[in-house]
Amino acid sequence: MHLKSKLAGAAAAAVLAFGISSAAQAQLKIGFVYVGPIGDHGWSYEHNQGRLAIEKALGDKVTTSYVEKVPEGADAQRVITKLASSGHGLIFTTSFGYMNPTLRAAKRFPKVKFEHATGFKRAANMSTYSARFYEGRYVVGKIVGNMTKSNTIGYIASFPIPEVIRGINATYLAAKSVNPDVKIKIVWVSTWFDPGKEADAAKTLIDQGADVIMQHTDSPAPVQVAEQRGVWAVGQASDMTAFGPKAHLTSIIDNWAPYYIARAKAVLDGTWKSTDTWDGFKPGMVEMADYNKAIPERVVALAKATRAGIEAGTIHPFTGEIKDQSGKVVVPKGKTADDGMLAGMNFYVQGIEGSIPK
């Protein structure tokens, strides 16, 4: 664990010891558990932005605390239990691997409300929430399909889980719809976060003809490489414009703030219920960074129309007919993929070359 959290803990202990926190009784204490450092400029960074948004919106009705860089496993159990037993009324656990530890803590502390990101197990006092990032990927696909001259999209992938595969498929389907010759070249780096390796993967893809770099990893290094090499890039999780002002087409931004504020309010009002939330553009859980000025107006208009269509429900990224690589129809004509299929997606759509690592 982290120096800062330890310092914070020591400070909190000092405050308690001197009994200054008498006003804290009425306040809701909200705890956050992050898998990465809040300075990753990616996944954990955005969750922390959500925490800060709660503080800003609800002021002194709440106090928040966080523990960062918590490994998924026994450490997670210890951290979650500690938060629950130290007076926190609402706890957000923000990584898939915290699912079972969170569930166990939820059983032990029935009065505490738990919110687990990206998982599928729930309890009376444990909700799950996730974002439909594939909607963002679909909009990006429309852009990159138009922007590529070499007809090769380079895609830096982390791990072969449905979340990542869904993103690849959504990108490819959208890119293909505007550019039938487009190819997608995928490199798996087996890490969420290693700036050096991500940069190497970006260089590799560019050397092999990709003129747009997309990433499903968290550091801004690939955007930076794209800038140096004079190709396009799409950022991930946070706005990465600063790392490649010329190269950066847009970023798909995780915006947890509206959800976090709503859930904190619900606890304060006593209206909190266990739910399963999977939101996309519509309530603002997924956002797009400003589009690069170099993108032709026609393409920006297409991107905006696609986004509006998704929000209105008239466009679904996975609309039939969709075949998998073997040619089997997975989504029949006129139908859209249901959430069950999306959540468990483990195949490439037809046209993507290569196979998913087993």
Binding site: L3, P37, G154, T204, Q208
Partner: protein
């Protein structure tokens, strides 16, 4: 397979290997003096943040590299005082140093997340760098790459061919004997530790000013540990550690290229390959166990106290 593909691949390999070379060569000297400093990762990350902060503040790459070296050196000074003078356990102190470095760098680096600067320029010698293939391969790197090669050569020469190197090795082999003939074990060890710290700091600086010119927490991502492993598997020989670093970097990059070319091998296997191949190759070239034992500093990890 055309040559257009090969040249950029090799350039990428060089950038991947260089931080490992710096850290591994520095640690070789430290271990040759009989000290096991497991804090390489912590010293590297401190070097990375110090160099990046300096680069952003001053725009000077030379100052940035010096700051990186200085930060690594300062952190190793803490380690040296604790282990050499206060006799603390080297393994525990080294591990603590890594944790401390990661935490402190995050604290210092807090306001640098998301900042950028141009990055270290590549050497560009008019005429020479433009020669096809050979030009970029030999003359197309940044200055630190050349420095890393020079430092390996110097360290190898120092350890094997100079009186100073002999003293370092003597202290690592048998500190009591070295002490009894009048050499200051503590001073020699402190010198080696500080050198190792500065080199790890430069390795970290390379990450944040040349490899990926940005700051994000934890950006060393385990490279300090790889450097440590390289030292042991290279049986404490600087050129062998250099070779190991390039082998590791090389396979890491080649497997990315292979994936991009659509080679049908599982990505997890390819990700594992650099580790396995590096260990295998270095173990095989160091397989003569009698020689390997001779190479291992006999006092590695043992504290020295003059009264003992």
């Amino acid at each position: 397979m055309s040559i257009d593909w090969l040249v950029p691949a090799i350039l990428t390999i060089v950038t991947a290997a260089t931080p490992l070379v710096f850290a591994a060569v520095g640690e070789t000297v430290v271990e040759k003096a009989g000290v096991l400093n497991l804090g390489v990762e912590g010293m590297m990350i401190m070097g990375a943040i110090a160099a990046f902060a300096t680069a952003v503040a001053t725009g000077s790459e030379v100052l940035a590299i010096l700051a990186g070296a200085g930060a690594g050196l300062l952190l190793s000074l803490i380690f040296g005082v604790l282990c050499v003078y206060l006799q603390s356990n080297q393994v525990a102190t080294g591990l603590a140093l890594t944790i401390f470095g990661l935490g402190l760098s995050a604290l210092i680096g807090h306001s640098y997340v998301g900042k950028t600067f141009g990055g270290l320029a590549k050497l560009d010698i008019p005429g020479l760098s433009d020669i096809p293939v050979i030009g970029p391969l030999i003359f197309g790197h940044d200055a630190l790459v050349y420095l890393s090669v020079v430092s390996v050569a110097l360290v190898a020469w120092f350890l094997n061919r100079t009186r100073g190197g002999l003293l370092v090795r003597a202290v690592g082999e048998n500190h009591d004997a070295a002490h009894s003939i009048g050499y200051s074990v503590t001073l020699i060890r402190m010198g080696a530790i500080l050198f190792g710290g500065a080199m790890a700091g430069v390795g970290g600086a390379y990450l944040s000013v040349a490899y990926t010119p940005l700051w994000v927490e934890n950006m060393t991502a385990g490279r300090g540990w790889i450097a440590l492993a390289l030292v042991v598997f290279a049986s404490w020989k600087p050129w062998r550690a250099f070779f190991g670093a390039y082998l590791f970097g090389g396979i890491t990059i080649i497997q990315l290229y292979a994936q991009g070319m659509g080679v049908e091998v599982s990505a997890q296997f390819l990700s594992m390959l650099p580790y396995v191949a590096t260990i295998l190759v270095l173990v095989v070239i160091s397989r003569d166990s009698a020689k390997a034992r001779l190479n291992a500093p006999a006092c590695l990890g043992k504290n020295f106290h003059a009264s003992g």
